[in-house]
């Protein structure tokens, strides 16, 4: 199913109104990840699509507008961060809950089996671990063959290894399904998203493929939120920035920054010298933070090996530098957290 959303919803909490507005399309079989910080309105957007709040605009599923339909008629399958299992039923009863409302439901045992939790069928939800609970919640949604999966940070409550394991499960389950997936985690967004929509302050900042979002962020906010270095143009030598389009900020991802042993090349066109400030081992590489000599600007780079000395030469891969076309409110939300 193709999901075509163009909605606005206003929420009032303690006399403060917060408006969420979004215009996006999720193609058949595609997973769209909505990525944003806490309070950006990404969960509210999901709830607007699911039909839990009044909304203006349209929510079309294969062209049929469901914006006024109640949640039970929208054909969505929801998965929540807090699992939201029915505590008064067994796991099997949870998964079979929706069967009576659908013509061709999946068998509860089959779905549990497919997710590797067949042995939990007769257990009560309150005896399950976090990872088990989320598999059951996923099974429950799968069982009704939803037209659209809506997932609200399903991995956030889990510890890291459980999260990794379940992320792999989600990759399989969502393959070929139409889904909207909400998260604040860029790794999850890049792993699961066929496309990514970055949300901030109740509005979409940028929608695109993961490569577009991560390599060509549309704003400094998107760049920072996706883990890129955001530098001022002045902090880089003219030789480096000469061919870039106009704009005050220059973005470069740490994986496109190359560090070499300090050499006489420094000062040469396009090669900067810098001091190593910090080296941290991450999963696949070392994250090296360096301070550029001239401007004192800090930036991160990934390196297969830790740098040998305290000083390095910094260069950028061809085409790695990008100037974001900042949108209306460039400064908002850019403060360091």
């Amino acid at each position: 199913m193709t999901l075509d959303v163009d909605v606005t919803g206003t929420f009032t909490d303690a006399d403060e109104a917060f408006t969420v507005t979004a215009d996006l399309t999720v193609e058949r079989g595609e997973t769209l990840v909505v990525l944003g910080p806490s309070g950006s309105g990404k969960s509210l957007l999901l709830e607007l699509v699911a039909g839990f709040h009044d909304a203006d605009g349209h929510v079309r599923l294969d062209g049929v507008d469901l914006v006024d339909a109640p949640p039970e008629e929208r054909g969505t399958g929801m998965v929540f961060q807090n699992y939201a299992l029915f505590e008064h039923m067994t796991v099997a009863e949870n998964v079979a809950f929706g069967a009576r409302y659908h013509e061709n439901p999946r068998d509860a045992d089959d779905v549990l089996d497919a997710l590797g939790v067949a042995d939990l069928a007769e257990r009560s939800p309150d005896t399950l671990s976090g990872g088990e609970s989320q598999r059951v919640a996923l099974a429950r949604a799968l069982a009704v063959r939803p037209d659209v999966f809506l997932l609200d940070e399903p991995l956030s409550a889990l510890d890291a290894p459980t999260r990794d394991a379940l992320r792999r499960v989600l990759l399989d389950v969502l393959d070929g399904e139409t889904a909207v997936y909400v998260t604040h985690d860029r790794t999850t967004a890049r792993a699961l998203g066929d496309r990514v929509a970055v949300m901030h302050g109740g509005e979409l900042q940028q929608v695109g493929t993961p490569d577009e979002i991560f390599e060509r962020p549309g704003s400094a906010f998107v760049a920072r939120f996706t883990g890129a270095n955001v530098l001022t143009r002045d902090s880089l030598p003219d030789a480096v920035t000469a061919r870039l389009p106009a704009g005050e900020r220059v973005v470069v991802r740490p994986e496109h920054v190359t560090l070499d042993p300090a050499s006489a090349d420094a000062g040469e066109s396009g090669v900067l010298s810098a001091a190593v400030e910090r080296v941290v081992r991450e999963d696949a590489a070392y994250r090296v933070t360096v301070a550029l000599d001239d401007a004192g600007t800090r930036l991160d780079a990934f390196a297969a090996e830790p740098p040998g000395g305290e000083r390095v030469s910094v260069s950028f891969a061809a085409g790695a530098l990008h100037v974001p076309r900042d949108r209306a409110k460039p400064e908002e939300g850019e403060a360091e957290v």
Binding site: E47, A50, G51, F52, P70, P71, E72, R74, T76, G77, M78, F80, N82, A84, L85, F86, E87, H88, F97, G98, R100, Y101, H102, A137, R140, A141, V144, P146, L150
Partner: protein, 254 residues
């Protein structure tokens, strides 16, 4: 340091525990179980006990039928909700005899229901009991409903259950504990009532199944006081029996 703090707390707290337990113990041990049982076979006592259980049951039923929908509305939220929530709690702080007077002025002869006898009659008794006990029902139900995670209901809706089905299969079962506890507290509060009953209706005529006919009987809490000067031991016996009924129900809920 920890010692001094703990000992002081234990002494003061222990004093309160004793002060609460001792009166009940003194009441229960004042007379012998045999004497209590022999008093319990007195038809007037039996009628009193029946009325003390039955009238609160009717009041709780009334509070349930009207109170559960109100609890649902309060949970969902509406304009002016704060005022209604305050109003629901108000009977909790109204002096009991004042509550009785208010019910009498509102529903007594010539007022809200001109054809319904209130003063000295069963409807008045039930109305007075419902007035003082409804807040417990509403608050219990409300807590029960509010303990149901909104996302759990949303999950049910998303799986295809409509509003009513979601209520029946998810909300209600999950809130059941709160509803039951609210109803029992409401019932216990009604059994306990003395002031409002004493003002509105304590000696009423009601259908008494064991006798198969309408009889005249006195509400338990009032019977205890009226009997004090007539037959102290009989008063204590009824008090112990009433206490037992309340304690059994109270322990059953916990």
């Amino acid at each position: 340091n920890r010692g001094a703090f703990g000992v002081a707390a234990a002494l003061l707290g222990g004093a309160l525990v004793v002060a609460l337990a001792y009166p009940l113990a003194a009441l229960v041990t004042f007379t012998s179980p045999a004497a209590i049982l022999s008093n319990a076979t007195d038809p007037a006592v039996l009628r009193t006990l029946y009325l003390s259980v039955y009238a609160p049951l009717l009041a709780t039923l009334l509070a349930f039928v009207l109170g559960v929908p109100l609890a649902l509305l309060l949970r969902r939220g509406f304009r002016g909700q704060a005022v209604v929530a305050a109003l629901v709690d108000l009977p909790l702080v109204v002096p009991h005899s004042v509550a009785g007077l208010a019910v009498l002025l509102a529903f007594g002869s010539g007022h809200a229901f001109p054809t319904v006898p209130v003063l000295g009659a069963m409807p008045g008794l039930v109305l007075a009991l419902a007035f003082v006990s409804a807040p417990y029902m509403v608050n219990g139900a409300r807590e029960g409903f509010e303990a149901v995670d909104e996302n759990v209901e949303r999950a049910a809706r998303s799986l295809g259950a409509n509003r009513v089905e979601t209520f029946r299969r998810v909300t209600l079962p999950l809130a059941l504990r709160g509803l039951v506890s609210g109803a029992v507290l409401s019932w216990a509060r009604a059994v306990s009532e003395y002031g409002a009953v004493a003002v509105v209706a304590y000696n009423v005529s009601f259908f008494y199944p064991p006798a198969g006919e309408r009889v005249q009987g006195m509400f338990g809490s009032v019977f205890v006081v009226r009997q004090l000067d007539v037959n102290f031991e009989s008063a204590v016996s009824v008090a112990v029996l009433l206490l037992c009924v309340c304690v059994v129900v109270f322990l059953a809920v916990r």
